[in-house]
Symmetry: D2
Subunit: 365 residues, 4 copies
């Protein structure tokens, strides 16, 4: 309830601050028997690693994942999987200005308001380093999903006003450009835009999109624990996310029913939809189609441009945030969005197993 | 976990189907001592009642709230408050077509896929009548919030492409037009548009907006239980909602940091923001400013226009949904969005009370 | 968290006070497809009904169960099952003394201390009528368990010092005597003892025992959610229970390991234990043997003998509790203990279904 | 739900196996501002450390606690506190017999039945080393309680048949004898008895008792989350515990109401009880008196005496468990019982803070 746990049957608890000794996650409820190695986790962590391009912070962080429990003879045992990542780059430095004043767009003021004081070193618990635990756990969830034929494809849809049209997607490009966009030409345009942002000592927002294929129909719970509600809550819990859409999202609000409804048809005894405005869920339960979601990521709040603010005592001052900061966090948010989606789907697949009496009968009789 | 409960310390459980005997809600964790009457609940229920305008279904439903427990001498006792609303309009009728085929845009197919069969009478649990429990509980949460100086203002921002600009808001209009829009001129335009929808046997989507003032800074939990994440999950759990925004939402994704960051200033020893792009939360914790959220509501899926679909056996067919259906559900969704917001804020106010040692000391020493 | 919900996947929420309009329960998560009727629930409720013998209160309560949702065409639908029991016997009367002073052994003082005031009519929420919701839900859980080959046998082991030795059990007697003892001779002795209690205006405690057969090995979660821990917490939550034992219980504390350990053997490819000191769990996980638990029930606190106490203002006074009260609640607690055990086992059977990767593979591939 | 988390607002998640890299715990929800150092945690861990007497295993384990997060400038920050204890004594050895056969009284068989395989090294997750996480977290909870004037006194009440009568308690003795008994003479008798057990290659059970003073009246939630129910569930989740009593426990089952009811009186405007048969709770809510609970601990299942069992293939065999094992685990269980009690009380103190409207008003207005 204090906010560091996520999920029900597949449940994670993350911990750690930006400049503490380490960050990590405990995964409780991962099914026994899943092959798992530190390399599986490392592969995901490397996707969020800083220092990979000129648009991400130059902090050199090895972010090496150590699995401390829950794996025996290279398989998960069903007991908690504890994953630890030591913070490498904790050099003591002068936090002077940050320590005493509130950075606009950051959680400095709200943490102070809540707890009475805060760990001011690099944002403490509100730092983006908090997402390492999510991503490490997401790697395990994604491995479980892959075993069950479920695939997640996540990418940068837009940066600023540079948005890849759906008709020009080429998913093979995602790993080819440092912005994780599904089109290299748009990626070059976005790079040029980001260079401008850097020059003007500013930063940019963008949109991350995630497509999940292979989820069988019937996943999600009616009413409050709808699959799309859970996905939205999970995605919105990522620090910089300010909006979430499922399927057509806000477009649906401008449309008429005859356009928005997806006609059913059947093929080879499977019931399918001719379109996918719904984004793969109906009534909060998966309909067997691709689950499609979008996350609006705000511009990095840390900018070197001078900004007005106040000290914790309320005295007006200005601040220019120097040091190593990403002019855009969207590319690094891609794997975080994917992790949250994977964790949510894994949890709901497990919850769904006891939805019917005949499932219990097959399992126990 | 089966999805009919919401909240933690202020926790509700709803139940009931469209054409069953009744629908209702149990509220567990409402603080003791809150003055509460059936009229308080009825007032909220009346805001979602059908049959109020020519744009809402003509079903005559009294929707009378009965409080069965948890209130003694006109005050809440701290024990569960059970509220029951009998279904009045359960006349047996021919569900023939609906019974055997899947309505596009509805949860018929996904409920079948999940449970193996479904209550096909009017959508069963996936019907909009499910929201009665939310609204009844939301009335109690809102009463609690009002006691603490917190006010919610919720309205229809847009219907189809008719969108009230922020500069033309007049909140006194909300109760004056049957669409709950904050501007009567736009409401007339929207009415004209809805008349067209009815003529073309179609329906319209729209956007609901909610503003919450008076929430002190410090509410919300870091990481997964951010206040905005919880609000988003709660709002997205409303049947027809396909997108959620906090503050600038998707606009933030197109902006630069110097525009999106809200400068701090201080006034009379209070720390305030010059703008509110953040929508009242920073790092998932309230910053003392107005909390602003938007929900995209899809067009009513029930339209009388002929649509392609399949039977539950997979045979192609067409369906025209006759009977009493709203050409737009946005106005009725207004109070549902407000209810979910009130429930979420009430819960997080309670959770926050134990965040600091000095609070425990003041309480217990 | 406010205490009126129990369970995880099979989760119930009870509500209602002794002298309010009704009491009830909402069951969320019951698997779809279970045949269920009001008669199934009524059968269980009748086992806890007052007025059945001269040792239970003469209050005439029909306690008629009404199922309001979650059942369609005589089968559960997977959505919440709401069960309501109207309070019949709410005649207004003079609560004078009870209203203003604290009955020893009752929760009057502690409710006042917690909430600042209380519903003094017959104990309000702390009344034994609260257990109606547990028993109604337990009936549903027990029906589910029976479908899976699991049987619960629950009975009065002892009343005062009259205790049926294990060697003299005859389970066919349980339904033959009004005390639900597994031996009619001991039941007669206990009846004689209770007559003495009535004469001396006093009451008696006793022990309820529950045996659960057919639970497969592997049910229960390691560490905090051990099956025996959950059973103990559930049983101890019944108002008058002051002690719980699994298997040998406190006897095990006096024994040596060579006596207490149960040797394994195998028969027909099944692994079995030669003895059952463990009471059917090892490391908190079921071992396939009979689960055996005992609950110590305190004597009814309502006695007509004069007792010392204070008013809510702290003024010394005395009280004699007149009216309709059971000289022993043990026989009526039998079905409540069984209900809590059934609810716990049902929940843990469901939780266990996702413990292994190969189960997920079989379910989804 | 997979069983490694405990508590609600003050919530812990433990992880780690006997012979893995480390064991640990994450505490989420500890109030901000509590002074906390590794020494506070170490002090508690040392009380459960093996190798302290001739009756505990000779394994040399430093069990050094490292706090990795959640503490800044020597105070808790309100964010998760991650505590790690490296396993020192993981020398690789021959697990041959244990690997392939089921030790009586251990969880070997049930883990295999649940998960399909197990970490057989020293019991894996079912080892007593799992309790390190509980004790480390319990140290933090106890520190919080002490700040609020609440004290826990826990000790060995009995070993085998050697039981200290309540009239001969001298709590100053608890730290003077290696069995943590509140009477040195009985401790000597118990030591002599344990010497006999060792000679006969056997082990002994015993009873742990815990007294909690200073808990204000009003703590605990009605119905399922009664304070005594939560304490019982928590205590019963400790591996070797087979029975729990609150107050008079099973004695109450033999008593009459006039003996068992505690008369109220008042002193200096405080409402008190003349006796404490209830053990400090009425209706599951604390009554302001000492909370008294007892836990029955079974004899150590690991004995060097030859025992009958089967291999995992079901072949009959015998086993003698050699190596370092405690002839009694009761003294080491003392601090584990205290930890579970402290965790439970801390959680419920926090939950209680929002029970009344006037508390919210004082907090927020």
């Amino acid at each position: 309830m204090a906010g560091s746990s996520y999920g029900n049957l597949f449940r994670i608890t993350t911990w750690g601050e930006s400049h503490g000794a380490a960050v990590g996650v405990v995964i409780d409820g991962c099914p026994a028997g899943l092959p798992l190695s530190e390399a599986d986790v490392q592969h995901y962590l490397d996707r969020r690693k800083p220092g990979q391009s000129r648009f991400t912070t130059a902090r050199q962080e090895a972010d090496h994942a150590e699995i401390l429990s829950g794996v025996f003879n290279e398989k998960t045992t069903g007991t908690p999987i504890s994953i630890l990542v030591r913070n490498q780059d904790q050099r003591s430095r002068d936090y002077g200005k940050i320590k005493d004043c509130y950075r606009p767009g950051h959680a400095d003021y709200t943490f102070d308001a809540k707890y009475g004081f805060r760990d001011y070193r690099g944002g403490g618990r509100s730092s983006g380093r908090e997402t390492i635990g999510r991503v490490a756990a997401g790697a395990v969830a994604a491995k479980l999903l892959n075993h069950l034929g479920i695939t997640l494809t996540t990418y940068t849809r837009s940066i600023g006003n540079i948005c890849v049209p759906e008709t020009e997607y080429d998913f093979s490009c995602i790993s080819e450009n440092e912005l994780y966009m599904p089109n290299n030409i748009y990626a070059r345009k976005a790079s040029a835009y980001l260079e401008e942002c850097i020059k003007s000592r500013d930063s940019s927002g963008g949109i991350v999109e995630c497509r999940i294929t292979g989820v069988p129909a019937g996943i999600g719970e009616p009413v409050f624990d709808k699959l799309d509600a859970a996905l939205s809550g999970g995605i919105m819990s990522i620090g910089a996310v300010k909006g979430v859409e499922i399927g057509d999202g806000f477009i649906a609000a401008r449309n008429v029913g005859s356009e928005n409804n997806d006609p059913f048809y059947s093929d080879n005894n499977r019931i399918l939809k001719k379109t996918n405005h719904s984004g793969g869920t109906l009534g909060g339960i998966s309909d067997g189609d691709t689950i499609l979601l979008k996350a609006a990521v705000k511009p990095t709040p840390s900018i070197s441009r001078e900004q007005e603010t106040v000290t914790s005592a309320g005295v007006p001052t200005t601040i220019s945030i120097t040091g190593r900061h990403d002019p855009v966090i969207v590319p690094r948010a891609v794997v975080v969005v994917e992790a949250m989606a994977a964790l949510t789907i894994a949890d709901f697949l497990m919850i769904n197993m006891s939805a019917r009496l005949d499932s219990l009968e097959r399992f126990y009789l």
